[in-house]
Point group: C2
Chain length 208, copies 2
């Protein structure tokens, strides 16, 4: 290896269209937002399953694989929740840049935080709002969190004692009280297909 | 969607062997460590190019796409450098879990920090030590950093005023003063091939 002259960075870097031509899809951040119990994790994993079964490269970022790893230093203060969502948005954007369909499932109650994640994804962001009444979520209460929030054992609980800012114009709005999991996944796949996420870019674009 | 009963997480989760069967490779963290000017970025991008040209899913995590995004809140204090490497290790482990060949190029001078990244990658870690004398790196000085370090304009500069803990038993040791970039990439590809990273898992493993 010659000295400095050969150390120029970025020469011959792989472009996003090249990656996408290879994978036969376009990388994107599929961002599921909604109350606790609205079905984010269920739909995230069902969507990943469907995409993988179709031969797509997809990966779920959720509380389980992020809170114990990348964000293991963060607690649940407002500042830490903000940083949690910020890092998830950044990590998801890296996956999207790599051509992967990154599925992020987080309550993410604040519009500004979601918009920051959208901005980082540089136009490859699909906001999927799981629009279901808090009463339905509370009835499901899969983790018993609403019960604890009502008992005052959890403070600042979204939908009970902290706000949820509903998206103004999400790419998709799914009522999980009316639709089955499969129907929700169908809607998402239909959207991704219609928007070209499940096709490789045209050859001339990949050759740019 | 029925209430709680359908909200069990992880049912039907995609397994790592399934992802790898789909991609025809095994996810891993390829961790390049070495002094500033040792060739980490050059080799990282040349390796990514070669892998992509072979139809592999690979992605470089380096200072450029991490420092301005995921780690944009971090400076250069010892604590922040530690956190920088921690997060990179976690993000790379997520990529590896997704079946991707994640290429991380960071000075990462401390053995304990590299070992933490290795631990997070759960057995899928290839430590590639760019073993080149500081005198060669200083002669290259592609960013003019050694000059600034010698002039005292940069403190705690690895190899000049801060230690570099050489890996004891890296998977690969490459002398970039003696090998061309292509030869370095050849060695890495040979290693990945020999270790099975560039093959899909056996069908029975994928079906587990």
């Amino acid at each position: 290896m010659a000295p400095a002259s050969n150390l120029t960075r970025h020469r011959g870097n792989v472009s996003r269209p090249e990656r996408e031509a290879l994978l036969g899809q376009r990388g994107a951040v599929l961002w599921l937002t909604g109350l606790s119990g609205s079905g984010k994790s269920t739909i995230a994993f069902a969507l990943e399953r469907r995409l993988i079964d179709q031969g797509r490269a997809a990966y779920v970022l959720d509380g389980d694989n992020v809170r114990f790893g990348l964000n293991s230093d963060l607690g649940f203060s407002p500042a830490d929740r903000n940083e949690n969502i910020r890092r998830v948005g950044e990590a998801a954007a890296l996956f999207a840049d790599a051509g992967i369909l990154a599925i992020a499932g987080f309550i993410s109650p604040y519009g500004a935080h979601r918009d920051r994640a959208r901005d980082r994804a540089r136009g490859r962001f699909v906001e999927i709002y799981l629009d279901v009444p808090v009463s339905v979520c509370e009835e499901r209460d899969p983790k018993g969190l609403y019960r604890k929030a009502r008992a005052g054992e959890i403070t600042n609980f979204t939908g009970v004692s902290a706000p949820y800012e509903a998206p103004d114009s999400p790419e998709l709005r799914l009522d999980t009280a009316a639709l089955t999991v499969d129907q929700c996944v169908d809607r998402i796949i239909d959207y991704l297909t219609a928007e070209g996420y499940l096709s490789a870019p045209a050859a001339e674009e990949a050759a740019e």
